[in-house]
């Protein structure tokens, strides 16, 4: 039988595409990207400023934003990080690697299969933009229908940038065989990219800035026009062209991706990663003189108890089981303890927590700042704003991990067959996550207090208590409850991630366009000042936030898949 590279590659490629068609995440991404394009089309600046929605300028502007915002690099990480890890996790690896399959065909088939799916998802944005040319909108300028710019700019701006990112995530996931490393990289994308731009790229000569920028932004900047200083007519007729430096940048990204894939092909091994050393020998044959056998079915013999070892004669002690009212409380404590142990073992969480602490230190108010009320208020407010934004990501991703952990590890039948109520199972996870985040808030606050004292400012502890107690804590309680409910309702952590990120992005967009009504702003984004904290409307708002939190938990309890009666 002939096994060419192409046959094997095609088999792996098509299988990856097939597997992706059975997953929820790609469909949710398609909906999210298409919905965002509609949103940008209807609510973006084009209508107000008279920019043609299908002009070269507007198309590239949208694609550049799409490429960087919307958490797109994170989605790339989610899709590209674990195709090979998944085979090992599901135990399919012996079945695959026992076949005459080349390493390159396997690795490249996996990479391009998933990258194809990713590009299909991303193309929902471009296709929606293309189709919207036929949808009239009052006051909107639309040039005659065109197709080439949508395809050309999509390939050069979005696809090539994400090819390189995809190769980075794929290499990290495959070589470490740990999807969490990829999630960590994905979560760290924005701080790393911004730091890279500020500290590495900025001092470099222009040529290096052009060559090394993964998203090609420096290429655009060198030749960018300032749209705010140009007339709409000029922008609508403006043709975006790519000069040599742009092409060099794009080609260098493709080459970097190629080198990374080459490294993966060379370094990828099917051998277990450092596991052999952890296994201990089975001490099964302490009675080596006795031949152990299963009695033949032909005879109905008494079992050989007389041949039993010492341990076989151990009787299990009598125990008292607590039932009734005190039981749930002790069970919540037990489950909470275990949840903490399990969360503590998540190394990526520890790294992310360190990152949050680091970023909150970096984000402390500057020395030159002059406070309106007091230094404590400024430090507390600053800490609250920074921490809230950062911990939302932690809550979204780790609550998903926590809620679905039993099912993924197949511990569910053991735990669900015990006499615990669903509220115990849910609340233990909820409180574990909330407690962890509150500890993090306490640590960050402590750092802010120490920093404040080191700078010689008087400490007003009540300011910290008020800001954190009134703004931060109810927000954390609500967000965690919302994410618990999302995970229970959607039954899939990836779908929950996408919905949470999508809803979050949509809300931030709304808030930034001035729609900050407290009814859909329970986290008080941009709508509070320190004097507001002790007012009656604030009390009502906080009660409303806690009410939402209880409602989310009630929904999660109601739709929890385990039946109790």
């Amino acid at each position: 039988m002939k096994h060419s590279f192409y046959t094997s590659f095609a088999a792996v490629f098509t299988n990856e595409v097939l597997l992706s068609t059975k997953r929820v995440a790609p469909y949710v991404l398609i909906v999210l990207f298409a919905a965002n394009k509609v949103l940008w089309w209807a609510k973006g600046p084009a209508v107000g400023l008279g920019w043609a929605t299908n002009s070269d300028f507007n198309i590239t502007r949208d694609y550049t934003g799409f490429c960087f915002l919307l958490g797109l690099p994170i989605f790339t990480g989610i899709i590209m990080g674990d195709p090979i890890v998944r085979d090992f996790r599901l135990g399919v690896d012996p079945l695959i690697f026992s076949k005459p399959l080349g390493r390159a065909a396997y690795v490249l088939g996996k990479f391009f299969g998933n990258f194809f799916v990713l590009v299909c998802c991303q193309s929902a944005f471009a296709i929606t933009a293309f189709l919207l040319q036929w949808v009239p909108f009052s006051g909107m300028v639309v040039l005659p229908v065109r197709a080439v710019p949508f395809v050309k700019h999509f390939l050069l701006i979005v696809v090539i940038s994400h090819l390189m990112l995809a190769a980075v995530y794929f290499a990290a996931g495959t070589l470490t065989r740990n999807a969490k490393v990829v999630y960590l990289l994905a979560a760290a994308f924005y701080p790393v990219y911004i730091a890279f731009e500020l500290f590495v790229m900025k001092p470099l000569p222009v040529v290096f800035r052009i060559l090394l920028d993964p998203l090609g932004f420096n290429t655009h900047r060198e030749q960018a026009i300032n749209p705010w200083q140009q007339s709409a007519e000029f922008l609508n007729q403006y043709v975006v062209t790519y000069d040599v430096s742009s092409y060099v940048n794009r080609i260098s990204m493709v080459l970097i991706a190629g080198v990374l894939l080459l490294i993966v092909c060379r370094r990828f091994s099917i051998a277990p990663l450092n596991e052999a050393g952890h296994f201990t020998g089975l001490k099964l044959s302490s009675a080596t003189e006795r031949i152990a056998y299963a009695a033949p079915s032909v005879e109905f013999l008494d079992l050989p108890f007389e041949a039993s070892l010492e341990r076989d004669r151990i009787t299990l002690p009598k125990v008292t089981s607590t039932r009734g009212r005190p039981a749930p409380f002790s069970k919540i404590l037990a489950a909470l303890g275990t949840e903490f142990r399990l969360l503590r073992a998540e190394r990526s969480l520890l790294v992310l927590i360190s990152l949050v602490i680091l970023l909150s230190i970096v984000n402390l108010p500057p020395h030159s700042m002059v406070p309106e009320v007091s230094y404590s208020v400024v430090f507390a407010t600053n800490t609250a704003n920074t921490v809230l934004v950062l911990v939302i990501g932690l809550i979204v991703f780790y609550t998903g991990e926590t809620i679905h952990r039993e099912r993924e590890l197949k511990v569910q039948p053991l735990v669900w067959s015990t006499p615990v109520s669903n509220s115990v199972l849910l609340l233990s996870k909820y409180f574990a996550m909330v407690s962890l985040i509150l500890v993090l808030v306490a640590v960050v606050s402590l750092i802010a207090i120490v920093a404040q004292l080191l700078r010689g400012h008087a400490l007003d502890f009540s300011a910290y208590m008020a800001v954190h107690g009134i703004v931060l804590v109810p927000g954390i309680l609500f967000i965690t409850a919302l994410v618990v409910a999302l995970n229970v309702l959607l039954r899939n952590k990836y779908a929950a991630y996408v919905v949470a990120v999508g809803v979050g992005a949509g809300l931030v967009y709304l808030y930034n366009t001035g729609h900050t009504n407290w009814l859909y702003n329970p986290l008080l984004y941009r709508i509070w000042t320190y004097p507001d904290l002790t007012t009656r409307p604030m009390l009502i708002n906080r009660l409303y936030c806690l009410g939402l939190c209880v409602a989310c938990l009630a929904v999660a309890h109601l739709f929890f898949p385990r039946k109790t009666r």
Binding site: A292, S297, V298, L301, R405
Partner: protein, 291 residues
């Protein structure tokens, strides 16, 4: 006494996993024997409150196990066919956690129970080892240990000896026999016939979601007394022979076939001798008749 009546279950995919299963189980070890995909695990999951039946009832000593799930879980010890463990916990921590969930709140009692269980399943020296580092057999033994927490009155073990070496398998049989007393119903689901004949006072054979037979292993073998024959048939006559007789097993060597047939009182030919009936004969005879 556990009473299962007219249990049916059809999955959303359209697969009819159970078709009117009815069983009466008295205290002791009850064997549920059947090929893969026969509906054993579905039945076990329903009894263990993890799956809802479409119709039917399950009662134990008058209590409805389907409607009173919390009550069922209080008296249940369940070892699933396919289960996982928290890889970052140690064996001791895992058992301690499950004992707490079972309501064993008194610390001293719980600790001595966990120690005794680890000792019984030969994991005492691995008590502080992370479960992620356990081999398949060690995980299975820990699964057995957790099923025995809290003196369960109903123990469900689904394919429990998979992954165990012969010695541990025998030990598990001993442990299960000891656990099954006058107050405890143990349901052993397996496709290993010898497990049933070694352990069970009663058994049922399930196939395609239906109970084909429910009796004691002894009765089953009695039914085939003087009906099992063994002999050699030339390979070229094998096809004709198989169409004429109920062939239970067949092994070929040196151009001949050594066959085991069931023939009620009638010797297949003079070269055949009567063989002692075993439970496998009953099982395959029943399955063949259904085919």
């Amino acid at each position: 006494m556990l009473s299962i009546k007219d249990l049916t279950k059809t999955y959303s995919s359209g697969v009819q996993a159970l078709r009117g299963v009815s069983l009466e189980l008295s205290p002791g070890v009850f064997g549920l024997l059947g090929p893969n995909g026969s509906g054993k695990t579905t039945l076990m999951k329903i009894v263990a409150t993890l799956l809802e039946p479409d119709s039917g009832t399950i009662e134990m000593n008058g209590a409805d196990l389907i409607k009173r799930k919390d009550h069922t879980r209080e008296m249940l010890g369940y070892l699933p066919q396919d289960f996982g463990l928290y890889p970052t916990l140690t064996a001791w921590q895992m058992l301690d956690y499950l004992a707490k969930l079972k309501g064993v709140n008194r610390k001293k009692e719980r600790h001595s129970l966990v120690d005794a269980l680890l000792e019984r399943v030969n994991l005492a020296s691995e008590r502080s080892q992370r479960l992620g580092e356990f081999s398949g057999g060690m995980r299975q033994r820990l699964g057995i240990a957790q099923a025995l927490i809290g003196e369960p009155q109903l123990i469900i073990v689904d394919e429990p000896t998979a992954g165990l070496d012969p010695e541990e398998r025998l030990r598990f049989h001993n442990l299960l026999s000891e656990t099954a007393n006058e107050n405890t119903v143990v349901i052993l689901s397996t496709h290993i016939v010898s497990d049933v004949s070694n352990l069970c006072s009663r058994m049922a054979i399930i196939r395609k979601g239906k109970i084909l037979a429910a009796c004691s292993p002894r009765q089953a073998v009695e039914e085939l007394k003087e009906s099992v024959w063994e002999g050699t048939v030339p390979r070229d006559r094998l096809t004709a022979f198989k169409s004429e007789f109920n062939v239970i097993s067949l092994r070929t060597f040196d151009g001949d076939a050594r066959v085991r047939v069931i023939s009620n009182g009638q010797r297949p030919n003079v070269e055949f001798t009567q063989a002692t009936a075993v439970l496998e004969d009953y099982y395959f005879d029943l399955v063949n008749r259904q085919n």
